[in-house]
Amino acid sequence: MRHLLCICAFLGLLDARAAYADDAHAEMAAALAAQADLHPAPISLPNTAAAPSHAAAPSAVKRRFNPHGAAAPDHARAAAAQTQSQEQAQGASQALAHQAQATAAAAAGQTQAQAAKDRVSHPRPER
């Protein structure tokens, strides 16, 4: 009978964990749908004279991406696209600056990671 009780408790905990996962999945699904890039920029086929291999498109953060951009007006999107193309045109000269930013971001990330670990190690008391 005690075994049955243990199984019952274990199932209860499993259920709780599954509920967390479901919750995160549902929230993420809503965020993904809301933040999808619905209006692709026009393209042309790349060629060997195109941008250097490491020049990725500017990040959403650097473009000051609005997480609720799906609802943004078309002219705002057009402006963003224009900014993006201008930034892409700056090409290699920005690569070094980008690298420096990445280094700084990595350092900041480590600090944030440590802070996140601390938050988990020392959780706030529940109210």
Binding site: M1, A16, R17, A19, Y20, L38, P40, I43, S44, S59
Partner: protein
Amino acid sequence: MRSLWVAGIVLCVAARARADEARPAASSTMGRHLLMGVRAFKDGRYEEALVELRIVARAPDAPADLAFYLGPTLYKLGRHREALATFVTSRAAPDALTDFYLGEACYQLKLYRKARAVFAGLRTRGLGPVLDEAAARYVGMIDAAYQAEPGNSTIDYYADQGLELAGGDPVVAAEYLDEARQVEALARTRYRHAEIVAALGKAWNATGHAHAVVELLAGEPSPTAEASWQLARAYAALGDRAHARPLLEAIVNARAANAAEAAALLANLRP
């Protein structure tokens, strides 16, 4: 005894209630970081989301569908190659939203044939009206760009990118080389075909896609030495001695570039 049963039921109900009412204060460390990551993503704080999701990724009980969270976060940070690698190496079941972001990552990386395949596939499988219209726009943009036959310089672009990445990042290299193969197939005349398929076979072997290598190279009419070597490796990895042995013997007998490795592989083939 009856009280034990009652206690068990109460425990179950309590656990469920705790999950429903106090999810931010999750008992699971992983679950807490996952939720914090999701909420940071939701607010557009992608760097913070990435920090949280990296912690989740290191957890022993990390969710199998981590790419669903991590891939879009990397995409939003403009880390498209990492996003692509996250998506294509995920072993989770296909998911429409994850695939939509995979298509977007491919599009940003100029892997347009792959992006087109992803978006067209999503439309076939069924999407909501908003995402379906967006997927149609992506497909339309790519089709417009490919109205003219791709030139050799476009094939060069993809092949060179793939070859450049092959040493350090075989997963993404394979994506570029596969794009090169698909673009080359659209061209009127063959261009760097043997080189592209051999390099693609090597990248796929490096990432454990032996079946794909066999499918790619077994039908090649005049494979290069490198292609034969990659095909032999793939057969050996699949345990197909009947096909691997003659290829490996030919490489050894011809004293080709990979003769020593072929001999070692031949010796290791089970009788």
